[in-house]
């Protein structure tokens, strides 16, 4: 209790001794000096006249002012409890700072030659402007939205103005302003620290933002006072004078909703709410209801909450009235039926799942593999569990050893399949069906892995660039006339490494290296992003030519994002080397885990993946080509053009991958 009292007293005294606070004794003294000087030299008052004017009992001891003092004391206690619950500005700043690394793909320090004081000045000014404009906007919202006005009108209920009126605030409004400050400070520091590093520093006077210090020291406390100081029309278009803020507090309807700004008047000018000071002060401050009820503590603290709740209800009522009326009986009927069907499905599935179980470790994303699993479950009643991870599954399988629950491994690309093969994680499979359904060049010579779908590495051309239609094969891409016009993802990606391996297979190491080196010379930008990003780059005009896997084109073409459909519509596909060895293809594939406890079921699942039903799914779900020669290529894929594929044994890609990687490193891809 003693600690609480001590902390509380500290909190009450703190604003008087903290230069960050408006009622810091130094600022109050400055305001007093300003008022005296103004009255002495502009109005011609004597010192005693000024004193009696400035310390008028009817103001400082009025019912309204007394309530200001009380509210300040009560709010301090309330904020002691609320402040720790507000979101931390450091948390927000760190989150923003981190996220900016993704937005800008890294961090480049700007203007390294600019000295610390230069950045500090820019930072201080920026923070000051951001602070001021957001205060204006929040203040305007407090007046604009009835829900917020319920709380803000507590401040406007003051009928006399003293510097302590600044604390006449409903706690909810205190929270709103607190959050504003959190976000402003977090945004400013995150941005400046991100771009300028440790040179971002606040220029301060007595530890306070220099701009804010000057504002407060220049008599800011007179804004809440009866001392009518106008700067004159010209200055008041740029700076809010005490008189302008007093107008903001006026009960005269013609003054309502004007002068929301704190320091600068430019925001009010932009927003059409600027009101320059008249020759005389407003007759009356406050809400103008004259009942005196506004100073009851219950009116100050509870009434705004009740009004705000009522306001919310009205709003909800309005929205609901505009909503279409539903036939509830029909809806209930549908829900009941749906529930029964769902129950039957789950119950029925559980019954059938009891028969057998299969565990799959998959690198393929769940949305791609789930339709196969659903079809398999429906057909066999086998319960299938799936573990998905884009990386680390081989390590996991390796560390699990004989205890591993995995039965089936599914992955994409020969290089990734080879990781499992190389680590001895796959079991040999005896299956006539697989041998029949998967051509020899698309399976492991020792039958440890099998391909289930094919994907062609194609060239895409911008529809806008007519001259590129001459490109018919990979080798064409190294012609110097395409300099600065090609986009491609990093060379170490398995898709590109496999392509280079196919070129080694076609013409040897020197041939492949010449090609890779020529390609790099023609790039429009550093290799980056995924295959989709290359199509996007063509759409944005960064380049005219790119290399991608064919199915990305389909994914973009049928994307539910309009933006992506636009990217696809900007390009056409070219299946390369049709008059020669054919287009390079890669595969998705899989095998049976070496320590599978259910090998029979695992083989049955692999066989299913090569069946007509599953092979069709590859085309319809992910625009991939079937490996089973007895399955027709889906119509959509055929519409992009039939193609001849490079018949090199796909296992050869894995063998040549180390050489391909060396080429990629040597040419700096």
């Amino acid at each position: 209790m003693e600690i609480f009292t001590f902390e509380y007293l500290n909190l009450v005294i703190y604003p008087f001794i903290n230069p960050q606070k408006r009622i810091f004794l130094g600022y109050l003294f400055c305001a007093l000096v300003f008022a005296i000087v103004f009255q002495r030299f502009i109005l011609g008052h004597t010192l005693s006249q000024s004193a009696s004017e400035l310390f008028k009992k009817s103001i400082w001891c009025s019912k309204s002012a007394r309530k200001d003092y009380l509210i300040m004391i009560i709010n301090k206690a309330l904020m002691m409890g609320v402040a720790p619950l507000l979101i931390s500005k450091i948390l927000v700043a760190v989150f923003l700072f981190e996220t900016m690394h993704v937005w800008f793909d890294g961090r480049t320090i700007l203007w390294p030659a600019v000295p610390k004081w230069g950045i500090a000045t820019v930072f201080t000014i920026s923070l000051f402007l951001l602070d001021d404009v957001t205060k204006y906007l929040v203040h305007r919202c407090l007046h604009r939205f009835p829900f917020l006005w319920c709380f803000h009108k507590v401040h406007h209920s003051a009928e006399v103005l003293t510097p302590f009126t600044v604390y006449r605030t409903h706690p909810v409004e205190g929270i709103v302003f607190g959050l504003r400050s959190v976000f402003v400070q977090a945004i400013a520091t995150a941005i400046f620290f991100y771009f300028f590093g440790e040179r971002a520093e606040l220029t301060t006077i007595l530890g306070v933002n220099a701009g804010l210090f000057l504002f407060n020291a220049a008599g800011a406390n007179l804004r809440h006072s009866h001392v009518w100081i106008s700067y004159g029309t010209l200055i008041e278009k740029f700076l809010i004078s005490p008189a302008q803020h007093q107008i903001h507090h006026s009960s005269d309807p013609k003054h309502h909703d004007t002068n929301f700004g704190v320091v600068l008047a430019i925001w009010d000018r932009m927003g059409g709410s600027l009101y320059c000071a008249d020759s005389r002060s407003p007759r009356q401050f406050g809400l103008g209801d004259g009942s005196g009820q506004v100073h009851n503590l219950s009116t100050i603290y509870l009434t705004p909450i009740m009004e705000a709740v009522r306001c919310l209800f009205w709003t909800m009522e309005k929205v609901m009235k505009k909503m279409p009326v539903l036939n509830m009986n029909k809806r209930i009927r549908h829900s009941t039926m749906g529930g029964i069907v769902l129950f039957l499905c789950i119950f029925g599935f559980e019954l059938s799942a009891g028969a057998s179980e299969l565990n799959i470790y998959s690198h393929r994303q769940p949305f791609l593999i789930n339709p196969f699993i659903e079809a398999y479950q429906a057909k066999t009643g086998v319960k299938v569990n799936i573990v998905y991870a884009s990386k680390g599954l081989a390590q996991r399988l390796q560390s699990e050893g004989e205890r591993s629950p995995a039965d089936v491994i599914l992955t994409v690309d020969m290089a990734r399949l080879n990781v499992y093969l190389d680590k001895g994680l796959l079991a040999p499979v005896q299956s006539e069906i697989l041998l029949k359904n998967v051509p020899a060049h698309l399976r492991d010579p020792n039958n440890k892995w099998f391909s289930f779908s094919k994907r062609a590495r194609v060239i895409v051309l911008s529809l806008k660039s007519k001259d590129t239609v001459v490109i018919k094969k990979y080798e064409d891409l190294i012609d110097s006339k395409w300099k600065g016009r090609i986009c491609v993802r990093p060379g170490s990606h398995v898709y590109n490494r496999a392509l280079v391996a196919s070129l080694i297979n076609a013409g040897g190491i020197e041939f492949a290296e010449n090609w890779a080196s020529g390609l790099i010379k023609n790039l429009a930008r550093r290799p980056q992003g995924n295959d989709r990003a290359q199509v996007k780059a063509i759409f944005e005009g960064v380049c005219d030519i790119a290399i991608i896997n064919n199915y990305y084109f389909g994914k973009l073409k049928y994307s539910n994002k309009e933006e992506q459909r636009k990217w696809a519509s900007a390009v056409q596909l070219v299946f390369p080397n049709q008059k020669g060895r054919g287009a390079h293809i890669n595969i998705s594939g899989g095998g049976v885990a070496k320590h599978s406890k259910n090998k029979k079921e695992a083989i049955r699942f692999l066989e299913f993946l090569t069946s007509k039903e599953a092979q069709n799914l590859y085309g319809s779900i992910n625009f991939e080509y079937p490996v089973n020669p007895n399955v027709e290529v889906p119509k959509e894929l055929l519409s992009w053009g039939n193609f001849k594929e490079d018949q090199m044994p796909i296992s050869q890609i894995a063998k040549l991958a180390p050489d391909a990687q060396k080429i990629i490193d040597r040419v700096g891809w």
Binding site: Q20, R22, K76, M79, L86, I90, A93, V94, F97, E98, H101, V102, W103, F104, D105, G106, R107, T108, I109, P112, L127, K135, V166, Y167, T169, P171, E173, F177, G178, R180, S181, V182, A188, T189, F192, F193, E201, L202, V208, R223, H245, A394, Q395, Q398, S399, V419, D422, K423, G424, P490, G491, S492, V494, R526, P527, Q528, G529, A657, P658, D665
Partner: protein, 484 residues
């Protein structure tokens, strides 16, 4: 003029005398040496029961191995590999001390490992668990052997294609996998149990020390602090490790190290090795203006207090209360040592981040990245080495280790956006397209956050978000209850 000079000289002499007197007075109870023999069965001529030369020999083997790791010429070199293995796997006699060696006025007393201790190797004391932060489930010994193989054929120990600095990887990893692991997971853990190496029996037959005394000494030896650490400031201890290169005058380091004033630095008792070097670095803020820490003196004092307790037991079996106090000291050592490793991981996560920002700036300006890339690879090696070292302690770090390994990856993200994803059965690195540059930079930031949350580290050198947080904090509180 003359008068002023005289006064200054007099003042200097007075100060030095006062320091020496007070230094000697403090030294009386602050040196980790000279503890008497309490083992009743001992019949030899030794005067003290303190002995940790085997650990010092291993520090020297480690320093020498690091030196060898950076001496390759980029081609396969069987001789170099053999030499490295002789320092790591073998117990060959006559191995020269390659580091630390005499440097200017800093004269090192020993030049051969055998002068410190004979028949020692590093492999026998390397962490035997699986290193989950690298592919293929290698044990600590297998991993060091793998790196030795790679280092022997790398150019000055650096692989600029895959992004590995083997000198740093080997050195930092060993600092955990041998020194930290042996100290906190063996000597200060298993060997502190009641029946393991009891205090009323010799450590081994005919030894001048009891089981507990020697266990404790060996742990101290692995920490690598000079025996007179508590008479020195952390900065002095740091300067000793730097052999004068970071001192105002090179001879200052000798003066700090040479406790017995024989003009030479005895590696057995007077030098600063790895773990103590990092502890002293954080405490003396030589790397960065971090917050105040006292890892070096806290750990050394806990060692000293524990040793005093053992001496006071006069060769009798420790009772429960004595053992509890001793375990308390061991806990202090373990926690602080772990924090030192976490601080180092944190520091190098920050360095790697900074290097990445620098590289991005250079790449965007189409400049020459070679120097910045080398720094990045070096710092990443230190980061990876320390992060793996941190995982070789007494307790399994579980999810924290998993997160740490995921954030760091098997290799650094290279400027061509490739990253080592695996090691094949022939020992070749397999790479793939890695994270985005910004994404990997964010990993470094997240790693720093993770280390703060899990290890409560304080010095926080190269704290990237911390500096921004300090800037945010400096803006003061917002006007939450003020209104206009």
């Amino acid at each position: 003029m003359y008068h002023t000079k005289f006064n200054k000289t007099l003042a200097a002499i007075s100060l030095s005398t006062a320091f020496l007197i007070s230094g000697n007075a403090i030294a009386g109870g602050h040196i980790y040496s000279g503890f008497p023999i309490t083992e009743k069965s001992y019949t030899g001529k030794k005067k003290t029961s303190v002995s940790y030369t085997g650990q010092i020999a291993r520090h020297v083997l480690h320093d020498s191995l690091k030196k060898l790791a950076v001496s390759g010429n980029g081609k396969e070199n069987a001789d170099l590999k053999k030499k490295m293995l002789s320092y790591y796997n073998e117990k060959d006699p006559g191995r020269a001390i390659l580091a630390p060696k005499t440097k200017g006025p800093f004269i090192v007393k020993q030049s051969n490992v055998d002068e410190i201790s004979k028949g020692k190797n590093l492999a026998g004391k390397t962490y035997k668990g699986i290193i989950t932060g690298m592919p293929n489930g290698m044990t600590g010994i297998e991993l060091v052997n793998f790196w030795i193989d790679k280092a022997s054929s790398a150019n000055k120990g650096v692989d600029t294609v895959n992004g590995y600095n083997y000198g740093q990887l080997i050195s930092k990893f060993i600092m955990g996998a041998i020194s930290y692991n042996q100290a906190v997971d063996n000597y200060l853990d298993e060997k502190l149990s009641a029946d393991n190496k009891p205090n009323d029996k010799p450590y081994k037959k005919g030894a001048a020390y009891t089981g507990k005394e020697h266990s404790w000494d060996e742990a101290f030896g692995y920490f690598g602090a000079p025996a007179h650490t508590l008479t020195l400031s952390p900065k002095n201890v740091y300067e000793i490790a730097k052999q004068g290169s970071k001192s105002k005058k090179p001879e200052d380091a000798l003066a700090y190290a040479d406790y017995n004033k024989d003009g030479k630095v005895d590696l057995k008792t007077e030098f600063t090795f790895g773990p103590a070097y990092y502890a002293s670095g954080f405490d003396s803020k030589v790397y960065d203006k971090g917050k105040n820490t006292s890892y070096l003196h806290t750990i050394t004092k806990a060692f000293l207090d524990g040793r005093k307790l053992l001496t006071d037991a006069h060769g009798k079996k420790l009772n429960d209360s004595q053992r509890k106090i001793l375990q308390g000291h061991a806990t202090v050592i373990e926690k602080n040592w772990q924090q030192v490793l976490a601080e180092a991981t944190f520091k190098y996560a920050g360095s790697s981040y900074k290097d990445m920002a620098k590289l991005k700036t250079i790449i965007d300006a189409k400049g020459d990245t070679s120097k910045a890339l080398k720094n990045y690879i070096k710092h990443w090696g230190e980061l990876k080495g320390f992060s793996l070292a941190l995982q070789t302690g007494k307790s399994d770090l579980g999810e924290t280790a998993k997160k740490m390994n995921q954030l760091i990856g098997f290799g650094p993200l290279m400027p061509n956006l490739s990253q080592v994803a695996d090691i094949d059965s022939k020992g070749n690195y397999v790479r793939d397209q890695g994270e985005t540059w910004g994404g990997y930079m964010m990993h470094m930031l997240k790693l720093q956050k993770l280390l703060i949350a899990e290890f409560g580290i304080k010095a926080r050198n190269n704290d990237m978000t911390g500096k921004m947080a300090a800037l945010t904090e400096s803006l003061g509180e917002g006007a939450s209850s003020e209104n206009d």
